[in-house]
């Protein structure tokens, strides 16, 4: 039985400076149903990693996060994570939501062995003794596909390869048996084969551990088949959000279209033609649609006016003046 596990409503992240404040993420709305996988795609610097930190209230105080992050766990009352105190949200971080950051190695404490870190995490999250936590930790290492749990237990992070560090970090994220796993670009540090293996592992875990996954990525090869929903972020705005299948077959937003056609051309091995108006990443327009300077179908109307929100009949949310028609 699928239910909305996480609902994000009008999330906005601003960087507050004494003189000015800058909006880094705005009007983020999405719903993550249990056991689904939501993929967030977009360019680097588009606010993808920021979103993950905002969801768990991990941003330093000079970031202002407004909006609602509603978490419902089956029969419990819905809770707005954004308005919890540090102490209250720690319970969720420990037992409900796991997170895997981009650089697996730097996410591990260099002076503690992998086992010790996992044992501590398990002991805190599940409130068990260290002896029990030790057993659970060994099982977790096996769960994430590490072949010799006992050996890994005594290993220090610097002795791990990239793929192994990734798995240890994943085991740490699973320490509290979370329902929801947030993953930030899990594969950018891995080679193609390791990527594929890692995604298979995530698929496997989703089934065996009843996990719901929120994944930031730009690895199209691996998300195309498994994501249920895709959220496309451009310059802090979710320009398109909808069913993965539909998005993949028929993107409405020119940016999504650009991304997917580029990827599909690459996949077919054809020579790619870069998007017509080149770069100018620096020259983002101060008002109007932020994609306008690079948009292949830009019109005069796009510049002064911020695109308004559209809800299409199939449930797609879109920010564009002139969406591509089917």
């Amino acid at each position: 039985m699928s239910f909305p596990l996480l609902q994000v409503i009008n999330l906005k992240v601003e960087l507050i400076r004494p003189e000015s404040s800058k909006s880094l993420l705005q009007e983020v709305n999405f719903e993550l149903r249990s056991q689904e996988l939501l993929a967030v795609i977009g360019e680097s610097g588009g606010g993808k990693s920021l979103l993950i930190k905002a969801l768990l209230k991990l941003l330093p105080p000079h970031f202002k996060v407004s909006g609602q992050i509603i978490y419902t766990d089956g029969n419990e009352q819905p809770v707005d994570l954004n308005h919890l105190s540090e102490k209250e949200i720690n319970v969720y971080r420990r037992r409900k939501i796991g997170v895997l950051f981009q650089e697996p190695l730097s996410g591990l404490n260099p002076v503690l062995s992998c086992g010790t870190q996992l044992r501590d995490a398990v002991a805190f999250a599940r409130e068990v003794s260290f002896a029990e936590a030790h057993e659970i930790a060994l099982n977790l290492f096996a769960t994430v596909g590490l072949l010799e749990p006992a050996a890994i237990y005594c290993t220090y992070p610097h002795q791990l390869s990239g793929g192994m560090a990734q798995r240890v970090a994943l085991a740490l994220a699973l320490a509290g048996q979370p329902r929801l796993l947030l993953i930030d670009e899990p594969t950018s540090a891995l080679d193609c084969i390791a990527r594929r293996e890692f995604m298979d592992l995530i698929q496997n875990l989703r089934q065996t551990q009843d996990l719901t996954v929120f994944m930031v990525t730009h690895d199209f090869a691996n998300i195309a088949q498994i994501a249920a929903k895709i959220l496309v972020l451009y310059a802090g705005l979710p320009v398109e959000y909808g069913d993965a299948d539909r998005l993949w077959r028929q993107p409405h937003h020119p940016y999504t279209h650009l991304l997917f056609t580029t990827y599909q051309t690459l996949q077919k091995g054809e020579t790619v033609a870069p998007s017509s108006p080149k770069l100018s990443d620096s020259a983002s327009s101060s008002n109007g649609c932020s994609f306008a300077p690079r948009c292949p179908v830009v019109q005069d109307h796009c510049y002064p006016n911020f695109p308004s929100y559209q809800l299409l009949p199939d449930g797609t949310r879109l920010y564009c003046h002139f969406p591509l028609s089917p």
Binding site: E43, F220, L259, T262, K268, T271, V272, P274, L279, S282
Partner: protein, 281 residues
Amino acid sequence: MVSIKSNLNLEPEMNHLSANPILQVENLTLGYRRSAWFGTSSRQQLIIRDISFAIQPNETVALVGQSGVGKTSIANSILRFLKPWHGNIYFLGQNIWQIPASRFRLIRPRLQPIFQDSATALNPMMTIDQAIMDGMKHLKLSHAEAQQRLNELLQMVELEPALCNHYPRQLSGGQRQRVVIARALATEPSLLILDEPLSALDLVTAVQIIDLLRSMRQRLNLSCLLITHDLMLAQQLADRIIVLKDGVVIDSGPTQQILTNPSHHFTRQLIHAAGILNRKT
């Protein structure tokens, strides 16, 4: 495009080498030795065993393999950072591990690496134009010539001249990678060594850089050695692909042949993992 005249005092035989390969690697064997005090005991680790390949003028060869297979060690050896255990490396006809360092220094500017991480490849205290000018020091150009060349290079890599006096941290990843490419091109290289040049970039930026590299190669008659784990990138840029596994070459041949008709099952695995669609069907 104004042609760039070389002020390099290269020896005559090196200038008419057009028929010979730019780079030739013969029976290269690489490894690391870790020695303890006074060499009492040393651990040896073999990384690359007996690899041979050549890069012809205006050709791009891709070395493909999983991380940790020793691709970067090969690049380091060609750049004269890592001494091979056995084998020879000829660059522009010179056996680079046999010639004295002073002579290697003369041909070294002709050999330019571009690494994955553009953020650390640039000196944070140098502006963009300083970084690129630095690349053409050995050409001993006058100020006006250097300035003209700088403008040509910026135009070539499609960077706005306004960015000239910016510092690396003020640029995006794609822009920084363009600066790195411009700096490499400033030296009039014969061979570019591209070590995972795109893995830090997102798709749209990566495609722009692919396009840039492709047009550079044509305009400047460049040869490239591309080092990557991603067959999709190799497919876009390389004329020939060499697949490495466990320190040896397991598959090699023209790009089309490798992709449509791989002889080794590991190559098939790589193709599958990269998400490349099989064009035979």
